[in-house]
């Protein structure tokens, strides 16, 4: 296939002509098989990017390419087969009266054959650990279960890219964990790129790459490790660093020369262990 990526080329967008630009000359690429986290303060343009990616909105300037094909009103149905989206509010994305109907809905819209649909329903519910719930009513599920069904509905269409627009924001910690585990499993089992739009810094640490938005522009692109080194600048643009980064920073200040920017408890513990055992 060669050209498997989402590409934003000098994209600018505003909701109305007399309104300020929400995105200003934004260019980036989401590569095949990559997990990219997108963060930024409220109103920084993250969700607009998500909506541009699968043709819910179209840019006034620049172009967006999915696998080399430009996102336009006429290509939008091809694009949406490739780019699936999971939204924030689990209650706003159900149409079916049973879990099974709901997972089938997207496939019906794409005119898929019944046999294939039945197979995909089973496969995708299995992938999110919701097999056995086929005949349950979606609105009676927990928040985490609802979002897993929403992910299954997207998987069933077999997209190459899945965008999760603050998909864990309305869930409790248990639901959040369920979703993050599901996402990790799905991504490692399938040939998929993920874009997760989030405020959750722990979610960010798990991504391959981070794009930070600020005031409609890309503020930074890099690995989570590179990002959390910029502690003060992050706070200036309304963001924060995880606990581990804050502690690492203070440890350096207290005279402990850490060798790298730790991303999680284990990495920091290993560093501490090294100092502890070699002194």
């Amino acid at each position: 296939m060669g050209n498997t990526q989402i590409e934003f080329r000098n994209v600018s967008f505003r909701y109305q002509e007399d309104m300020p630009w929400v995105l200003k000359d934004v260019s980036f690429t989401i590569n095949n098989n990559e997990w990219v986290a997108m963060i930024g303060h409220n109103g920084s343009g993250k969700s607009t990017i998500a909506k541009l990616m699968n043709g819910l909105l179209f840019p006034q300037e620049g172009e967006i390419l999915v696998d080399g094909q430009q996102v336009t009103a006429s290509s939008v149905w091809d694009i949406r087969r490739k780019v699936g989206m999971v939204f924030q509010n689990p209650d706003n994305q159900f149409v079916g009266t049973t879990v099974r109907d709901d997972v089938a809905f997207g496939m019906e819209n794409h005119g898929m054959a019944r046999d294939l649909m039945l197979k995909r329903i089973t496969e995708s519910l299995e992938a999110v650990g919701m097999n056995g719930y086929e005949r349950h009513e979606p609105h009676r599920l927990s928040g985490g279960q609802k979002q897993r069904v929403a992910i299954a509905s997207v998987l069933a269409v077999s997209p190459q890219y899945i965008i999760l627009d603050e998909a864990t924001a309305m869930l409790d910690p248990k639901g959040r964990k369920e979703i993050m585990e599901t996402i990790r499993e799905v991504q490692s089992a399938r040939d998929l790129s993920l874009v997760t739009i989030t405020h959750d810094l722990l979610e960010v640490t798990q991504a391959d790459r981070v794009i930070v938005m600020n005031g409609g522009e890309i503020w930074m692109e890099g690995t989570p490790r590179e990002l959390f080194r910029k502690k003060e600048q992050l706070i200036e643009i309304g963001l924060d660093t995880p606990f581990v980064s804050k502690l690492a920073e203070e440890l350096k200040g207290a005279g402990l020369p850490l060798t790298r920017e730790p991303l999680n408890h284990q990495e920091l513990l290993e560093e501490l262990w090294t100092f502890h055992s070699t002194r």
Partner: protein, 290 residues
């Protein structure tokens, strides 16, 4: 205002196939001026509990006391209006409840309903927007032209303009960016101290419970599962894990340091900087742990 729950049970749709007991003999006390965090999973009874605080729900059995107001099963409380004037509730996603043409009108709606004189409403509105850091220029704008974070602040201002003695906050920072979350939580903490409010915070965030509350009530399946001072509660990691709740990240980390490095380290409310100093001392020298 002192608040107490005495064996409060609440059943939704009693005597039907959908009968569901959301609260089961819940008893606890909140002293006037306390900042209490109520924690529990979705479905643990938190929302049912807070709806008793301003009489939106009436106990199926047992008794709720909020200051001088008593709520009992099968007993009509004629003072509900007064109770609601004293207990301000910030519901989840309160910006969904905005409806007026201008920010000022929306903030004034509550106090107007309670017959507060116009002059006083003006005074309270100015005070409320100052507390929530809404620019006075926005008062004549439509609330629907504002950003999500600003809308949240307008909705909160509407509750503050009631000048309540008790503030009930149901996940007030959900959906905000990290900076917005911190600002809102610090604002409530300031109000709590300045106005000597009794504050009840419903949250999933153990970090917020640790940072702001002086008492924690943990609900599980409609019952009080644990209750106590934050540091005491968070010492019981296993008991919390049994109901799938975590301890705050700093405490998780301190526990790992203690277990994996085999050193003496206890979380007693240190700041991150203090913790870093202590850790440095431990790993670098002063064999304090031997």
């Amino acid at each position: 205002m002192d608040i107490s729950f005495d064996k409060v049970s609440y059943t939704y749709q009693p005597n039907t196939p959908f009968e569901h007991r959301a609260l089961d003999e819940v008893s606890f006390k909140i002293n006037s001026g306390a900042y209490v965090a109520v924690i529990g999973h979705t479905g643990s009874g938190k929302s049912t509990l807070i709806q008793h605080l301003n009489g939106l729900l009436q106990p199926t059995s047992g008794e709720v006391k909020v200051g001088e107001y008593h709520l009992k099963a099968n007993e009509k409380n004629k003072q509900l209006r007064n109770l609601r004037e004293q207990v301000g509730v910030v519901f989840q996603y309160p910006e969904h409840q905005l409806f007026e043409e201008t920010v000022a009108k929306d903030i004034a709606f509550g106090p107007q309903n309670f017959g507060v004189p116009q002059e006083e409403i003006h005074r309270r509105t100015r005070e409320a927007v100052k507390a929530t850091q809404i620019h006075e220029d926005l008062l004549e704008r439509s609330p629907f032209d504002l950003s999500g974070g600003q809308m949240r602040r307008v909705a909160i201002s509407g509750v503050l303009a009631m000048d309540p003695r008790v503030l009930v906050l149901d996940e007030p920072t959900a959906g905000l960016d990290p900076n917005g979350q911190k600002e809102i939580m610090q604002m409530f903490h300031r109000l709590h101290k300045d106005k000597q409010l009794t504050t009840i915070l419903v949250t999933h965030s153990m970090e917020d419970a640790l940072a702001y509350a002086d008492h924690i009530v943990i609900l599980n399946q409609g019952e009080v599962y644990m209750e106590g001072a934050p540091l005491e509660i968070f010492k019981q990691q296993q008991a919390l894990e049994d109901v799938q709740l975590d301890v705050p990240e700093v405490i998780q980390f301190v526990t790992k340091v203690r277990e994996q490095l085999g050193v003496e380290l206890e979380y007693t409310g240190q700041s991150i900087a203090e913790l870093a100093k202590e850790l440095t001392r431990i790993v670098k020298g002063d064999r304090v742990y031997e």
